[in-house]
């Protein structure tokens, strides 16, 4: 176990420079209870340092931070929003907010989004925070998805980054002929298969259709959905994915790429850190945007956003609002998303993106090469119940593609039950 003391030291030094723009006006007092799901060591340190900086601006405020295990948080939030409620809580964007909005458990923070500081600089994520025309929280970080691949293996077999579906498959065939699997993946916890479906469906049918499907407006037995699965099946039939992926978590699938048994991984940017830690250098690792499938369809990307919210039952909403303003400020965004901290993309347009090969590519991709739109992720864009059923279907399809018809029939029955 190694502690990033150097990181903390740097942060401590930077607190002196912390903005005072928000501290103006009356000072805050009382208690501010913050619940975090950032339980991994690095994000935890980042968040705690940021809260310390906020505390220094408001010395009369008694801040109490509780960090809850990221997985346990997902079920505990249902309890603590109703009883013993904190003033600020982390969560995820898009449809994941909906159950809490419908149960009147999240505070409407549209007033924050009217303020020019936020309205002008956070416009790109506003949609993901909006339900029924109101905003229910603020984002604090997001990251791109895409294909992370072994540059050295590509070079060894004379491959280049593909841009079309044909090139993608041709590359894959070359790799397979040389005994290397094209993609590693671990579908034990299902959602990784959701990433593949996101991209295949958005590239085959476009962003609008994808969102319609996520919201239950399209039948699963629709021919367009079948077209997506047909594309997926091409890869499965080639043997593009590693064997036995259903037994692995996403982390357990990493060694295949590290050992060179598989050449690429469709993943979120959080996969870079463990790949680097496993010994892959930036010369061996690179990134490309998921290829075009149906020509002419505007590319859309997955970029899941993590968020802060004020529970409706919070007691110190004034301080909570001030904290939200602080979190999204350009300066704090630059710090917490910096390379020594979260290492992700800042949500504030005025912030600086860390000088990192992958973040730069991701930032460029999302800001200029994603005209179709930005999706959150399958299990955040669709309702929880449909997400669960469909991702299980995706996993089954990847293992037993011949069952496609029965899977789609089952998903269609589920959709009708939920949405009709």
């Amino acid at each position: 176990m190694s502690f990033k003391t150097n990181t903390l030291a740097v942060l401590a030094a930077s607190t002196i420079a912390a903005t005072s723009a928000f501290a103006g006006g009356h000072s805050l007092s009382g208690d501010l209870r913050i619940f975090l799901d950032t339980s991994n060591p690095a994000p935890r340190a980042t968040m705690e340092a940021m809260i310390d900086r906020f505390g220094e601006l408001h010395p009369n405020l008694n801040i109490e931070t509780t960090v809850i295990d990221r997985e346990a948080y997902k079920t505990q939030i249902r309890n603590f929003l109703t009883a013993n409620t904190p003033d600020v809580a982390t969560w995820y964007a898009a449809n994941r907010i909906r159950p809490f909005v419908e149960a009147d458990l999240f505070e409407d923070v549209s007033d924050l989004w009217m303020e020019p500081e936020i309205a002008n600089n956070l416009a790109s994520t506003k949609g993901a925070m909006t339900i029924d025309g109101k905003q229910w929280g603020v984002p604090y970080t997001y990251y791109q998805w895409g294909v992370y691949y072994r540059e050295d293996i590509f070079a060894q077999y004379g491959l280049t980054e593909p841009t079309t579906w044909e090139e993608e498959k041709a590359n894959c065939q070359t790799l397979l002929d040389n005994g290397v699997k094209c993609y590693t993946i671990g579908t034990k916890f299902l959602w990784t298969a959701g990433g593949w479906f996101d991209y295949l469906n958005m590239r085959t049918n476009g962003f609008e259709f994808h969102m319609d499907l996520a919201q239950g407006n399209v039948e699963w037995t629709d021919d367009r959905v079948r077209a997506t699965f047909a594309n997926w099946q091409e890869l499965i039939d080639m043997g593009a994915f590693i064997d036995n992926h259903a037994t692995y978590s996403w982390q357990e699938a990493l060694p295949f790429m590290v050992n060179g048994d598989a050449a690429a991984y469709l993943m979120g940017n959080f996969a870079v850190a463990p790949l680097r830690e496993a010994g892959l250098s930036d010369d061996q690792l690179d990134f490309y945007q998921f290829v075009e499938i149906t020509p002419g369809i505007a590319k859309a990307e997955d970029a899941p956003t993590d968020t802060f919210h004020i529970p409706a039952n919070a007691t110190n909403k004034e301080a909570a609002r001030e904290f939200l303003r602080f979190v999204v400020s350009a300066e704090q965004q630059t710090i917490i998303n910096g390379p020594d901290n979260l290492g992700q993309l800042p949500v504030n347009a005025q912030s600086a993106v860390a000088d990192d090969e992958f973040l730069n590519q991701g930032f460029a991709m999302l800001s200029s090469n994603s005209p179709g739109g930005v999706a959150q992720f399958w299990d955040r864009d669709s309702g929880a119940e449909m997400a669960q059923a469909s991702m299980q279907g995706f996993q089954e399809f990847m293992v037993r593609p011949e069952r496609l018809d029965s899977i789609l029939d089952r998903l269609e029955r589920t959709r009708q039950r939920i949405y009709e």
Partner: protein
């Protein structure tokens, strides 16, 4: 509490002391049982008639949750797996018996061997699950190395819907066998040597000795082993959660896990549907509990 009433109270207490004492001793346990077991059972029945996400308002839907359960393939898969668990888990009893018979001898260091055999029961189910997950790992695991020696191809036990439940049960049998073994070891201590001697004089040997002389004396141990094994089979939740999370595509779920997934997991919030599954599981267990209670009642009457 006034002093004046004390003498009278005292005498009343004296009079009824013997009748009241058992109830007083039972009261805390009964209270907890009522609050944490009996009451939730009825509440589950009630919730199963509603559509409820645990946050908003409940909507009364009558028996619709049960109707949906009737058409739900995943429910039948879970039910089937529950039955497989119940049957195969009982293998722990004969396995435990034979290990106990094997260890029931006096050689140097036998205590060490006994504790080594008991070891798997001491470690947590979560650890057992992890160990077996690595053991079964299709790429790096020992299991495929072993069957590879016999020329059998690599098998992804936990990734194949045909083998996954059996794979998890095998993992569960490891600690359960140890538990049954300990029960039989204590039972064997109580076996009457004179009866063995008498049996031997009458010419009983080997299997016959075991079946007609030893086993009848082990009946209490067998009964307890049976009970804890059935309970263990119905509690199979943790191994499934650790080893497969119900997968691949839900093929290793049992009712308890399915209920958790539907009502309490990351994507689940269907309390009513979860409660309906719980009710069905409860009714299945009732059959067993009823059998258990009548048998106990009869045995006590018979003595």
């Amino acid at each position: 509490m006034a002093d004046a009433s004390l003498p009278q109270q005292k005498s009343w207490w004296r009079k009824n002391q013997l009748t009241l004492a058992p109830f007083l001793f039972l009261a805390p346990g009964a209270l907890f049982f009522l609050v944490y077991v009996i009451f939730p059972v009825f509440e589950s029945f009630q919730i199963s008639l509603y559509e409820w996400n645990g946050l908003g308002d409940k909507e009364y839907v009558g028996l619709r949750n049960y109707e949906e359960l009737w058409w739900d393939d995943a429910f039948y898969v879970s039910l089937r797996n529950n039955l497989i668990w119940l049957v195969l888990y009982l293998l722990a009893i004969p396995a435990g018996l034979f290990i106990a018979l094997f260890l029931n001898q006096n050689v140097w260091g036998i205590r060490l061997y006994k504790s080594l055999f008991f070891f798997p029961f001491v470690i947590s189910q979560v650890v057992v699950g992890l160990v077996f997950t690595w053991f079964y790992d299709p790429t790096f695991g020992l299991f495929n190395e072993v069957i590879g020696v016999f020329g059998l191809g690599p098998v992804s036990v936990l990734g194949d819907d045909r083998y996954v439940t059996y794979g998890i049960i095998a993992a569960g049998l490891w600690p359960q066998t140890a538990y049954c073994m300990i029960l039989y070891l204590t039972g064997l201590n109580a076996v009457d040597p004179e009866q063995i001697e008498a049996g031997r004089l009458d010419g009983a040997k080997g299997w016959k000795m075991l079946w007609y002389v030893v086993l009848p004396q082990l009946r209490p141990a067998t009964f307890i082993a049976f009970v804890v094994t059935i309970i263990g089979a119905l509690r199979s939740f943790d191994l499934i959660s650790i080893m497969t999370a119900g997968g691949p595509f839900g093929e290793s779920r049992v009712l308890a896990y399915y209920m958790f997934e539907v009502a309490l997991s990351e994507y689940g919030f269907r309390m009513g549907y979860g409660a309906a599954i719980a009710v069905v599981l409860f009714l299945i267990m009732m059959v067993y509990i009823a059998f258990f209670l009548t048998k106990m009642y009869r045995d006590e009457k018979g003595v």
